[in-house]
């Protein structure tokens, strides 16, 4: 039986002007002046236990809204959602026991208290039996290396440490599903790497079903084989990541820094698109499957090269590609 | 000198920004006046048999109204400017500026006071019309009241400043300045005139600086202090001002030294 079933989910917001102050707030309760925003417009997907799914989309695409509905925070305008047989917003507290959530931009830890105390509080909130709690916590302490900062007040932790703390906090009650809403935002490369590794462990070693939202394609690549791409409230792609990259991001770019300004006319190279981007910089687009070896040799033979770099496709770039055709056609592919 | 004027102006403008606070504060003032008016009227009525120490109800009500308005205007609070900054470690910036910090604080507080005065004056006029407030007996008393209130403001500022300076040594003395303020509510005679206090306590309480903040100017306003008593009371105010200013100056250089040593 599928774990998460979403059918034709719709959520429309009425946006009214922000109010300030007591009297104006009172007035706003009576008055109106609103516009409709379709945050999620007919989204459907199914997630099986043990999957790790990347939920991608640019900002404002509807990712957070979907997560909020799945976690039971938000009541949708239409459609149905079942998470392990429960309707999240109707059986909120029951659903809460089987899910763990990490919000990248807000922490659920208590700011002034040592990390340890946040965990303790959660133990009591979830009603975890002491023995169970100790063994779970012990396991995570080892896995994620918490010991060095578990007694530090949360406000003194680095962002990377805090995220690890949040991850453990979300997992203390051993949920079967883990939702992550932009968990690597603001992290430096090392910390990002670590968190992604931790999440990967949870999914591959412990079999937790993971739904991760992000707008960073590279992150998803590391963790998930399946991605769901959402844009303007609709799903544009739902399936294997590799296939997606083949179809929509079939190119990579070789960035060449020249020692001298590029000549006005450049002989075209077979199988590659050369673009002169600046006086001394070339961007060479080439197909994904092809090794850049020949290309590099050609270029090094033709120009004096100061520096070389290879860039992966970005989500923004992919979307730009996708929007050469209308979204409806792209979705039906 | 002009520089300090600018600080005062900035404080004036800043206070005005928090419109909601102003409205609620004003409401608190009006309600407070209303309640106290009822209280004193009732006190006099229910205890008509007891001689009210030579002050009539109208005079008492005047004292109360002017007292509450003075309370509104004189309330000094340098906490955000000192304590918070020390806590956040940015006090060093203030010390680097080419202005004398204590004077800057004083100017800031004067600016805030001026803003509150702008609100207090129309409220005072309203109160005078509605609540039967008696004016001071002559021009001398008016001038003396103004001067006396000015001294009171400076004394209040100095006490608050000294209390806040403890922040340079430990942040844990939060609330010290507010404790002084609460002590001031009772001991300054702003709610209950000092001459209602039992004879045993009166000399001590009168000698404390708190009495020189509100008690003296208010007594002048209702004409309770005259001639020799008036001058000696004001002399006490001047004495306290000088004493506290000296202490403040000394404490401030100690604080400055501490910042240099500790590094902000």
């Amino acid at each position: 039986m599928s774990l998460i079933v979403v059918r034709d989910l719709r959520k429309t917001y009425r946006v009214r002007q922000a109010t300030e102050g007591f009297l104006q707030g009172l007035a706003s309760v009576i008055g109106s002046g609103t516009t409709e925003v379709r945050a999620v417009d007919g989204v459907s997907f199914v997630i099986e236990p043990g999957e790790c799914v990347g939920y991608l989309g640019p900002n404002g695409a509807g990712k957070s809204t979907t997560i909020k509905v799945l976690t039971g925070i938000l009541v949708p305008s239409g459609g149905s959602v079942t998470v392990a047989g429960l309707t999240p917003w109707r059986q909120r507290m029951q659903n809460a026991r089987q899910i763990g959530v990490v919000f990248g931009q807000r922490t659920q830890l208590y700011w002034d208290l040592p990390l340890m105390h946040s965990f303790e509080m959660l133990q009591h909130i979830y009603g975890i039996p002491k023995a169970r709690y100790e063994s779970t916590l012990g396991e995570f302490r080892g896995l994620f290396g918490l010991d060095e900062f578990i007694r530090t007040p949360v406000r003194q932790l680095s962002l990377g440490q805090r995220m690890r703390g949040d991850l453990v906090a979300a997992m203390l009650h051993e949920p079967t599903i883990l939702y992550l809403d932009e968990p690597t935002i603001g992290l430096d490369l090392v910390a990002k790497d670590q968190i992604l590794e931790n999440i990967a462990t949870l999914n591959r070693v412990k079999g937790i079903t993971v739904l991760l939202t992000t707008h960073n394609l590279a992150e998803v690549e590391r963790l998930c084989r399946r991605i769901i791409l959402i844009h303007q409230g609709r799903i544009l792609h739902d399936g294997d990541l590799e296939a997606f990259k083949q179809k929509h991001a079939p190119f990579r770019t070789l960035v060449v820094h020249l020692a001298h300004p590029a000549p006005p006319v450049i002989r075209p190279l077979p199988g590659a698109d050369i673009a002169v981007v600046a006086r001394d910089r070339l961007e060479v687009r080439f197909p994904r499957g092809v090794s850049p070896q020949n290309l590099i040799r050609e270029i090094a033979g033709t120009f004096e090269v100061r520096d070389l770099a290879i860039e992966e496709a970005s989500l923004e770039g992919v979307l730009r590609e996708l929007y050469r055709e209308p979204p409806a056609e792209a979705a039906s592919r | 000198m002009l520089r300090y004027g600018a600080f005062a102006q900035a404080a004036l403008r800043r206070e005005g920004v928090y419109r909601v606070n102003v409205v609620v504060g004003l409401l608190g003032l009006v309600l407070g006046l209303y309640v106290l008016h009822l209280v004193w009227t009732e006190l006099y009525r229910a205890n008509a048999a007891v001689a009210p120490a030579g002050i009539t109800l109208p005079a008492m009500l005047t004292y109360m109204v002017i007292g509450q308005l003075a309370l509104l205007v004189v309330q000094v609070d340098s906490t955000p400017l000192i304590r918070e900054k020390v806590r956040e470690g940015i006090i060093a910036y203030d010390l680097l500026r080419p202005v004398r910090f204590p004077l800057y604080l004083l100017a800031d507080n004067l600016g805030s006071a001026a803003f509150r005065l702008l609100i207090a004056l129309p409220a005072a006029v309203l109160a005078a019309l509605l609540l039967d407030v008696q004016l001071p007996p002559d021009a001398l008393h008016v001038l003396a009241f103004g001067a006396s209130l000015g001294f009171g403001l400076v004394i209040a500022f100095l006490l608050d400043f000294l209390a806040n300076l403890t922040a340079f040594w430990t942040l844990e003395t939060f609330g010290l300045q507010y404790m002084l303020r609460f002590a001031g509510f009772v001991l300054s005679g702003v709610f209950v005139p000092l001459w209602f206090f039992p004879d045993v306590w009166r000399p001590l309480v009168t000698a404390l600086p708190f009495a020189s903040i509100y008690g003296t100017p208010l007594s002048i306003f209702v004409g309770r202090l005259d001639g020799g008593e008036l001058w000696s009371a004001m002399l006490l105010q001047v004495t306290w001002t000088l004493l506290l200013a000296g202490a403040a100056g000394w404490a401030w250089s100690a604080a400055e030294r501490r910042v240099v040593v500790q590094g902000g």
């Binding site: 208290l113 949920p175 079967t176 | 606070n21 229910a46 007891v50 709610f191």
Partner: protein
């Protein structure tokens, strides 16, 4: 592990019986955690104690000074007014360590923490009021000391019945205060910034509760008895205990109704909260 966990989760979600035990237990844990936080700043705790003492001394001092020359106010003497103040403080003390944190709701919503409260298997309101930051466990302790002193200096002795009624009265008073605050802050779900509303409520309470209700005109008495029932926090039960009858509008016997009034006010506030919550769930902000 997945299937087993799901089963366990369903079992643990229990019914009303579990709820009745869990919430008080969580409360105690919250207090314990808060005490730990306070213990980390011992000097701060002591300073706060001194501060509160001076604050109370000053409030009582003003009353005392007033009643030096004029022994009676509205039919109440100083010892009786001291008692009135102390009784109010008891209710406030209980309120401070239980319901007072409701005013953090604005902040939680603004900072996005409120969403986090909703993904836990415990009521959101409960989590708001048990935020273990910035609690002052000293308030109820000081209130008890004050109360003992106040009772000691009364000219009449309290009967055992009076003492038996006391917990219900204090709880009722705390519920009135909490309920009113909850009603005001439930509006946060519509207008977000309700701090002015809270200040207004506090101003009204502080200004009028200091003195016996008997000195106010009938309209004001009516207002604080039936619109914002602050009178039931201390004045009405004090009349009952001290066997005074100074307000025509309110017979001392109404003091027995204090817990009921508390429950009613809290229920009203809670209803507004539920409505607000539902609105929040459908608009998500």
């Amino acid at each position: 592990m997945g299937v087993e966990c799901r089963g366990a989760a369903r079992r643990r979600s229990g019914g009303l019986g579990v709820t009745l035990f869990r919430y008080p237990w969580l409360f105690m844990h919250y207090w314990r955690l808060s005490a730990l936080v306070m213990a980390q700043y011992p000097l701060n705790t002591v300073i706060w104690l001194v501060f509160a003492t001076i604050y109370h001394l000053s409030s009582i001092g003003i009353l005392w000074a007033m009643l030096q020359r004029f022994p009676v106010l509205g039919g109440w003497t100083f010892p009786e007014m001291f008692f009135l103040y102390a009784l109010w403080n008891m209710a406030h003390g209980l309120y401070a360590i239980t319901l007072a944190k409701v005013y953090w709701l604005s902040r939680h919503v603004r900072e996005g923490r409120f969403d986090i409260f909703q993904i836990r298997p415990v009521g959101a309101l409960f989590q708001v009021i048990t935020t273990p930051e910035g609690i002052s466990l000293q308030d109820p302790l000081i209130a008890i000391v004050l109360f003992v002193v106040a009772v000691g200096q009364l000219h009449v002795a309290l009967t055992p019945t009076d003492f038996a009624l006391l917990p219900a009265i204090v709880v009722g008073g705390a519920l009135v205060k909490g309920g009113l605050l909850l009603a005001v802050y439930a509006l946060s779900f519509w207008a977000v910034r309700m701090d002015a509303g809270r200040q207004l409520l506090e101003t009204l309470e502080v200004q009028f509760v200091r003195f016996p209700l008997s000195i106010y005109p009938q309209a004001v008495q009516w207002f604080f008895s039936f619109v914002l029932p602050f009178a039931f926090v201390s004045f009405v039960p004090a009349q009952l205990i001290l066997r005074k009858d100074t307000v025509a509008l309110l017979s001392p016997q109404l003091g027995y109704l204090t817990p009921a009034v508390g429950l009613a006010v809290f229920a009203a506030g809670y209803l507004l909260w539920r409505i607000g919550l539902r609105r929040y769930e459908s608009t998500g902000s």
